[in-house]
Amino acid sequence: MFRMNEHQQTLMEFMRQQSDKLLVQTLQHIGLTFISLFIAVLIGLPLGIYISRVRKLSGPVLGIAGILQTIPSIALLGFMIPLLGIGAKPAIVALLLYALLPIVRNTHTGITGVDSNVKEAAIAMGMNKWQVLFKVELPLAMPVILAGIRTATVINVGVATLASYIAAGGLGEFIFGGISLNNTNMILAGAIPAAMLAILFDFLLSLLQKLNFRKVKGAVKIAPVLLLILSCFYFIPSAYGSKLTAGFTPEFMGRQDGNLGLVSKYRLKIHTIVISDAVMYKAAQEKELDVISGYSTDGRLKAYDLVVLNDDKKIFPPYYAAPLVREDALKKFPQLETTLNKLSGLINDSVMTELNYRTDYLHQTPERVAKDFLQAKGLYKAPQQSNGEVVRLGSKIFGEQYILTNMYSMLIKGYTKYGVETKTGLGGTKIVFDAMTNNQIDVYPEYTGTGLLAILQAPRNVINRLQSSKDSTYAYVKAAFAAQYKIKWLKPIGFNNAYALMMRRQQANELHIKTISDLNRFLNTK
């Protein structure tokens, strides 16, 4: 009970502290939902009416709308980027495509469901086809059409949380930022308002649906105006411009060793939009963004010809990768530590970037990349017969981790008699680390910076004391993990996958920007 209260307290504190952002995100969220809903009604209603007239078309049209709805939201947003870039436009189009099916389908169902006797009476009394539509068919179909709009609204409120992936804002910024940062309050600060919006709009529309015919007439007239007003919410948080546009991940936005550090240490002022890691590099290459927050060993750095800006004030702590192992697993599997340490010191930044490039850009399987590398280093051995004991390997959900996990799997199978079970793609840090503390996995590759900041959530004075030094950071997390979690950091693999600001090589050269301070100077010159 006590802990519960403490928890509530901090969530309220967080929301109060971030109330400006929360308001902006909520307004953007409502705006996004209703702009797309409004356009979906403008398209869906006439389309639904049309296919109820031309029955031949109803099958294909409903089929296509149905298929659009089965495309995963993230994928649909991804498809939009080459067509419409990033920001509000592609998000609105994606949301509108989702809202289309329930509106078209219910309009069609509603209109074809009107009693044929009533329709015949309307025609027989001398109504023309528009009068039949507006005075008979639409009013009688209205409860069904409203049910469709209600479904579409709730879908839109949900999918709009994903809009933050492509820099369109909304409550997703908190939700996905919170997931990345292992910050429950931040997740809840986004998720609770989003859920409440869905419940609120669902409730209001259910009231509208229950009105009798006479009142619906009035309500239907007000609806478009209301939709327009709600749509305008999106534009209230006015955009501010600067010479360059930065795209940062939600995680980067909320971190001291991220945007917060850029602002406090460099006094960097740049027009920033929040965007998902998945589309950020592509957006940079396509000149939608000029500066992005990436990882220094990312394969796309090479693929898209980006350069890392030198962190001359040392705000990004080192992220040296090393295998993390449960201490009880080390006891259970005596040969495990030496086997995993065979990789230590073998992979530097440029080697890792190259390996990542092969998986991310050349689309080679992580397994092949891992095997090629081990063979080139003379480390590869054919798998031995397993003795039945199984080491459980985990990884986060990106290519570099897949490659490392594959290498470890091959090493264990080649040099020991242990079997291997891999659980790859365990989402973010929180998910994979929880899996480890709950004894679901024995080993996964982690980064010193993540251990220090995301898992240990080390106090500010400790971070300052470590002064972004590679060795002192490693020593600190190693000691702290052993004491707190009984988990051991093995020897670092060699590369430093730290946060970095990056730009297109050509633009950086043209503007003579090599360091973050150079970038800041450029932005500050009028």
């Binding site: 027989a124 009394m125 001398g126 009068q131 009688l140």
Partner: protein
């Protein structure tokens, strides 16, 4: 006057209406009678262009109906549907006002006319703001009738108008229908599968089968001069009842005993049917009914036996086939 010539309509392979022609005089009521699928409803719907014929012509008062926009044509033709087809989202008043609104009548005129019709159709005024779902089947059908009559169109088309009603309600509405002055000056075409209804309400009956008119004529002509076995068979089951209803007391006048008026007895006009006279007898000893011939002011008094004997003598003299 409605003149239908050589009307043909096919749906795929089916000849729904196969070359039919007939004329309905002004103020006359014609029943299109037949089993389902005989083409009677298709014929009716071609009259207000709900269905367009493949060939043939329809003239109303000498004007080809194709010469007018269908919407305008329909506003001048009343239409009553089997399941009333009332707008569920309109009140009774709004339903009745549909055609007047299309014709752009002013509010006062619509209100006056609506009140007039409600009174004639025995509908309480409180129903004006009710929705159709709140009314009984019989009341709904009356509202449907009011909606068809409100603009006082000279032609009224009725598609099985009483088909969905229970027997008691139907007979009640039949009786009201006969008395309604609004209907007396209208040219009415009534589609029905109910022989009794056709005999009761129509001046002439067109018996249809397989898209064609088998026989068209008055009730008596169909009964006593059937064109073929189909007509005879169609009427066979209810033949006696139809006869008793069709033959009027005036028809058998000459066979009634020339007895004078009795006091304390029921009275009937000579234009009533024999059925009605039988219905009037209360069956007590030495009962008599006075029958009054309106033209001659003559009165004849009959007992049940005397009435039946006159009926059978009349029947023996009716020329058959």
């Amino acid at each position: 006057m409605i003149k239908v010539s050589n009307l043909v309509k096919t749906f795929g392979q089916t000849h729904a209406v196969n070359n039919i022609s007939f004329v309905v005089a002004k103020g006359e009521t014609l029943a299109l009678l037949g089993t389902s699928g005989c083409g009677k409803t298709t014929t009716l719907k071609m009259l207000n262009r709900l269905i367009e014929p493949d060939s043939g012509t329809i003239e109303i008062d000498g004007q080809n109906i194709l010469s007018q926009a269908p919407e305008l044509l329909r506003r001048s033709i009343g239409y009553v549907l089997q399941n009333n087809g009332l707008f569920p989202h309109y009140t009774v008043a709004e339903n009745i006002a549909i055609v007047p609104n299309l014709l752009k009548w002013n509010k006062a005129k619509i209100e006056t006319r609506t009140n007039e019709l409600l009174e004639k159709l025995h509908l309480p005024k409180e129903y004006l703001n009710a929705y159709p779902a709140e009314l009984s089947g019989g009341q709904q059908q009356r509202v449907g009738l009011a909606r068809a009559l409100v603009a006082d169109a000279p032609v009224l088309l009725m598609d099985e108008p009483f088909g969905a009603l229970d027997n008691v309600t139907r007979s009640k509405i039949h009786a009201e229908f006969k008395l309604l002055d609004e209907l007396k000056r209208k040219t009415i075409i009534l589609v029905t599968h109910d022989v009794q209804e056709a005999f009761l309400l129509a001046d002439r009956i067109a018996l249809m089968d397989k898209g064609q008119i088998v026989q068209i004529g008055t009730a008596a002509e169909l009964l006593f001069n059937p064109a073929n076995d189909f007509v005879k068979d169609f009427l066979k089951e209810q033949h006696l009842q139809l006869e008793l209803k069709t033959i009027k007391l005036g028809d058998i006048w000459q066979y009634l005993p020339a007895d004078g008026r009795r006091i304390n007895t029921s009275q009937l006009a000579a234009n009533a049917g024999v059925w009605e006279a039988l219905d009037t007898f209360k069956f007590y000893p030495r009962e008599n009914i006075n029958i009054i011939n309106q033209q001659t002011r003559e009165v004849r008094s009959v007992t049940f036996d005397q009435l039946m004997s006159a009926y059978s003598r009349f029947k023996n003299h009716v020329p058959h086939e």
